[in-house]
Symmetry: C2
Subunit: 434 residues, 2 copies
Amino acid sequence: MQNEKIGTAPDARTNHFKSAEILTIGTEILLGDLLDTNAAWISGRLAALGVSIYRHTTVGDNKKRITAALEEAVSRADLVITTGGLGPTSDDLTNACLGEAAGREMVEYPEARRHVDEMFKRFGRTPTQSNYKQALFPEGSELIPNPAGTAMGAMLELESALVATFPGVPGEMKGMFEETLEPLIKERSEGSILSRTLWFTGIGESALAEEVQDLLDASDPTVAPLAGQGKVRLRITTRAATTEEAEEKIAPVADEILSRLGDYYFGEDDETLESAIGKLLTGRGETLALAESCTGGLLAKRLTDRAGSSAFFTEGLVTYSNEAKERLLGVPHELLVQHGAVSEPVAKAMAEGVRKTAGTDYGLSVTGVAGPDGGTEEKPVGLVFVGISDAEGTVAERLDLSAWRRSREAIRERSANRAFDLLRHRILLEGNKT
Amino acid sequence: MQNEKIGTAPDARTNHFKSAEILTIGTEILLGDLLDTNAAWISGRLAALGVSIYRHTTVGDNKKRITAALEEAVSRADLVITTGGLGPTSDDLTNACLGEAAGREMVEYPEARRHVDEMFKRFGRTPTQSNYKQALFPEGSELIPNPAGTAMGAMLELESALVATFPGVPGEMKGMFEETLEPLIKERSEGSILSRTLWFTGIGESALAEEVQDLLDASDPTVAPLAGQGKVRLRITTRAATTEEAEEKIAPVADEILSRLGDYYFGEDDETLESAIGKLLTGRGETLALAESCTGGLLAKRLTDRAGSSAFFTEGLVTYSNEAKERLLGVPHELLVQHGAVSEPVAKAMAEGVRKTAGTDYGLSVTGVAGPDGGTEEKPVGLVFVGISDAEGTVAERLDLSAWRRSREAIRERSANRAFDLLRHRILLEGNKT
């Protein structure tokens, strides 16, 4: 019902948003006690919608500073999105500051009061007087429904900009953004903005950029690279009168990129290496088991981050001690003595052992020196072996991640990415044979 | 040598920094492609040093907007820290904008040119002309050495503020901040600022706050709470002429807090539940093995995030399938059929099974419905059982995390925190008996 009201508001159709600013409100974020993930998330959404972003600003829970930041933001941008400061305590000042900046009285909205009552009823609790503060908004605001929490948001024209206030809880903010503001931005936008993200691994950012430099230099569709932890993505973006037209503009560019870089490609948009493996295995009715040493459960954790992994993932053995490698995976004692736990023969024996004991189609193993201590001249920090076993046999690859020897986390994440990518290639290879 | 120069600069001793702003420069961060972790890290350091923070601002790689943001920041604060925009490409504009704002010429610093040469030599490469852009700084700047990369930073007085520029790469920025700016802030600060953080779990933020409300209301030392994923921390901060004096002011407050909340306390400063367990077990020469189902390796991953875990952690079995629970942990088939995998008897059998097969002192198990799908009326999303087995016997606890049923991640993280805390209490209990 709120959505309908917003859609038919007289101001809502006039012109599209050219520029936006994001204002994060909260002392906890300002002092570094809490990481602001909202600004990045909203920016990503706005960028995909074709709205330029001018600035992010973070201020604490301080009336003067919030109001000043709001006034500055509306003087530069025509859409200002705030997160935080919508709670029931005296520190929550966002809507009051918006009223102050707009010269509007704070009034109680009956639907917001009802919403507070309903949410409290759902949790079997009784609201106190301070909870009804969340029903107060600057006069003339349109409310943003919040199905997941008590704090509704407000939209209000301030100078020539629209200000929209959201709670700081990411789960609440995201739903409200997607259900209320995103449709409004799309409705106001001239035509359709579309993005497709292609993911690559096994190639560095500069090597990848060289392959598609002509496309990176093109202005429509734009193609932008971004790299991290052994993965690179290319985002293709364009604007057109309709979504179909935008799709038609993007498709040949994506095809061209894939014809040059297809060997390194593993998926689109929110695909991860582990979700790509999950799809491949589920589609083929095949299964996987893991044997991890230096990654200590990271591969298993990543495979199970998303629901549905039980379709292909049966077990993961984190064999941290050598004794566990022998007992659980059947790695021969002599192999460990002769070559050490971080070696190609042991990586192979781990992959083969877990595949046999688990009775899966694939066995994947990782053993290495994650550091920051424990390296030797022969086996430095960053030396990692990945083993893969399937019905065709068992292979291993040696990784040299010594460039990241200062970061245990980087070595573990990159080992996982490389292991997943090697497995992916192996599965694809098997698929081509049959 | 740079440090010495800074220390003896005439401006450096005049007055302490009262307020700071952080300016993040980079289109990738503005567009949400990259999360800004630098601002939070710097803020945490500044807060610990007793410097108030007014604002964080993020702008893209745009000369006008960077310069405007710099000028605004120095009009409000007396210390402005920038990150990003110090690279060799045409998009890297920070130092040029600082020169513009200060009305200073850009000049080449011979020591910076030598630094570029040395860094390239170390990597066996040859710099191009564009790399020497990183030797250009506004005239009169003091340079900030960067042992980990080519980009040195600059410090320059602008109006009544000091501006310090840092690269965006966190690993480089942090080292430079700690080696150059932090000593300068300490030198300029009146006396010593000290913080101690106490960590609690098993108690909610509001219940904890009620217990220490009088201390939260006090102004020196200040005590500030922060909560997340089932853990709460209290930070005690004070300022005194010397570190020893500050310690003496904080100690009685910490003692008072612990006398009231000791049951929930698990460590100080960078302690985590898993590092606390690691210390306890290592100190007692005892060992732990894990049997995980819904957490899928998260507990093992967290235990091995820090080096040294091999001293007490031998293995973790991620038994995702029921068959794996039977084969690896010896969970009786009938138990799984009768009670289901998510049940108290199975949690107990898993903990007992892993302790026996691994031959460790403790076995810890987690089984539950992490969601977002797969819940039933009888076993809803968020129902989790934790099992603990030791020489004294085996116990299990039922967790109701259904309030977080929308977030698989929250259920998994909270399950891990609760499991670690239950284990910690069990270890302490055993310790008291002997």
